[in-house]
């Protein structure tokens, strides 16, 4: 969704500066998994605010419903039953969705100008009117987030309620969460808030509690407080050290400029060869 009141830090398939004179605060959403009761009010609020009505699916035997992110379900709750200590069952419920990476693989891979933008406040947003449906964002994302709609072949994901943030509101999920497990504010404040929560969790025996703000993608604008920050994969496969895949780095970081240069040089070499040597003509004698 195009938002003229938010400035843009990075724009897909664009090599010149984006509009960026306004100063906005770097924001973040903090999800405290230790406070989440899995009520899915946030999932409902997301549908409500964004006018999304996914198909009513089937129960797959667990509480996860829908079972995965879709073009119409931008956030889903993932329920993991784990025994970190033997005979001590823990129900780790993670609100999954876009992490709003500081270094977004989706944006790096996207070949359509302005289909993906990163606002100066850190939010990564998809502008579907510019999307061509190539799926490169899926290839680039280290968190398996974007989904292409079967209805219109455009990519969709969580907007972090950029439209609400732009007018000074908090995201719909934050507003609705009954336990205060989701909070929103300046990124620095959220890190500070998380530190308090981590200290509290440690005093309650979660010695490995910590903040999930993975530096491999430059940090994220959606962060988690984890009881077991040493094992993020316990939380339905949250990656431990996510980063943009080396394959995508080679493709979009190395190959893109080098190969373009190579093609340009080949054309120039041909042109200047002709200028220097002239055409290869069959001589008069052999014509007979």
């Amino acid at each position: 969704m195009a938002l003229q009141s938010l400035d843009i830090k990075a724009r897909s398939a664009t090599t010149t500066p984006s509009p960026s004179v306004r100063e906005t605060m770097e924001v973040a959403k903090l999800i405290d998994i230790s406070k989440c009761i899995g009520c899915k009010a946030c999932q409902v609020a997301c549908m409500e605010w964004n006018d999304l009505r996914d198909e009513v699916g089937n129960n797959v035997g667990v509480y996860d419903n829908p079972a995965d992110l879709t073009a119409k379900s931008w956030t889903v709750m993932r329920y993991a039953e784990v025994e970190v200590e033997q005979n001590k069952l823990e129900w780790l419920i993670r609100k999954d969705g876009c992490m709003h990476c500081a270094d977004p693989g989706c944006l790096k891979a996207c070949p359509s100008p302005g289909a993906i933008v990163q606002y100066s406040n850190g939010i990564v947003d998809f502008h579907q009117e510019n999307c061509i449906g190539c799926g490169y964002c899926i290839t680039g994302c280290p968190f398996n987030v974007p989904r292409i709609s079967k209805q219109d072949s455009k990519a969709y994901k969580c907007t972090l309620c950029s439209d609400r943030i732009a007018v000074g509101l908090e995201p719909a999920c934050v507003k609705t969460c009954p336990t205060g497990a989701i909070v929103f504010g300046a990124k620095g404040d959220m890190i500070h808030h998380a530190e308090g929560r981590v200290t509290d969790l440690k005093s309650r025996g979660y010695t490995n509690a910590g903040l999930y703000d993975p530096q491999g993608v430059g940090g994220t604008h959606v962060m988690y407080v984890l009881q077991h920050a040493d094992q993020p994969s316990l939380y339905s496969g949250l990656p431990k050290d996510p980063s943009i895949s080396a394959m995508v780095g080679l493709w979009k970081g190395v190959a893109k400029p080098l190969l373009s240069l190579g093609i340009g040089l080949t054309v120039l070499a041909g042109f200047f060869h002709y200028i220097k040597a002239g055409p290869n003509e069959v001589e008069e004698e052999t014509e007979k």
Binding site: G135, M247, W251, K256, I263, V267, G278, P279, T286, K288
Partner: protein, 210 residues
């Protein structure tokens, strides 16, 4: 037919048609592909009616090119085996490029540069087809593992690069070597051209004609 005139037949109608189907589809693929590859080529999107159309059309054009290239590969396969004479000829490459070559080894229908082009296309076009298939949205990409899709994206770009550079050289060589283009447009070259550039082939054609 060529006995009365100073022309020699080099390609028949089927070969020419096949060549140009490959050439036209290849160029369309290069243009739409480069637009997807690098922002400096974004304006090529508009040749296809915008980015979305370019994305939709590119893989279908790719299938046409792949199938028609198979035809070309089969037709030209036997003429492209690299021989010792070709290797001998290659030693004179510097002189040839400077238009100073004299007493070249008598090569057949294709020189070693053309043969390298042929074999590099034989290698990369199936690679492009296969990797393109794996990244084809919305039909096929979703069924492949993400690691494979990432690998295929990289391979597709690399293979396309090799193909594009090879074709730039090919097009330039066709233009630079005066008298070649008619081989693919009218099907004929002059006897002088044939004698000069592909003497062994010329002898063979003459023998057949007698």
């Amino acid at each position: 037919m060529s006995n009365e005139t100073n022309l020699v037949q080099r390609y028949n109608v089927k070969e020419r048609t096949n060549h140009w189907v490959v050439a036209i589809t290849f160029i369309m693929l290069v243009l739409s592909g480069l637009a997807l590859f690098h922002p400096s080529c974004l304006f090529f999107y508009s040749l296809f009616g915008g980015g979305t159309w370019a994305r939709i059309l590119h893989p279908f054009i790719g299938v046409i090119m792949f199938l028609s290239f198979l035809g070309l590969a089969v037709k030209f396969w036997d003429h492209n085996h690299i021989t010792d004479t070709d290797r001998e000829w290659r030693k004179h490459l510097g002189d040839i490029l400077a238009n100073k070559a004299k007493n070249l080894p008598e090569i057949g229908k294709y020189n070693i540069g053309q043969k390298y082009l042929f074999w590099s296309l034989v290698a990369i076009i199936p690679m492009l087809m296969l990797s393109g298939f794996i990244i084809w949205q919305p039909y096929f990409a979703p069924v492949f593992a993400i690691g494979l899709v990432r690998f295929a994206s990289l391979i597709h770009a690399l293979a396309a690069f090799i193909g594009i550079v090879a074709i730039i050289v090919h097009v330039y060589a066709a233009y630079w070597t005066r008298g070649s283009i008619s081989a693919m447009t009218r099907g004929t070259v002059t006897k002088a051209w044939a004698k000069h550039h592909h003497p062994a082939w010329y002898k063979e054609v003459n023998k057949g004609a007698k």
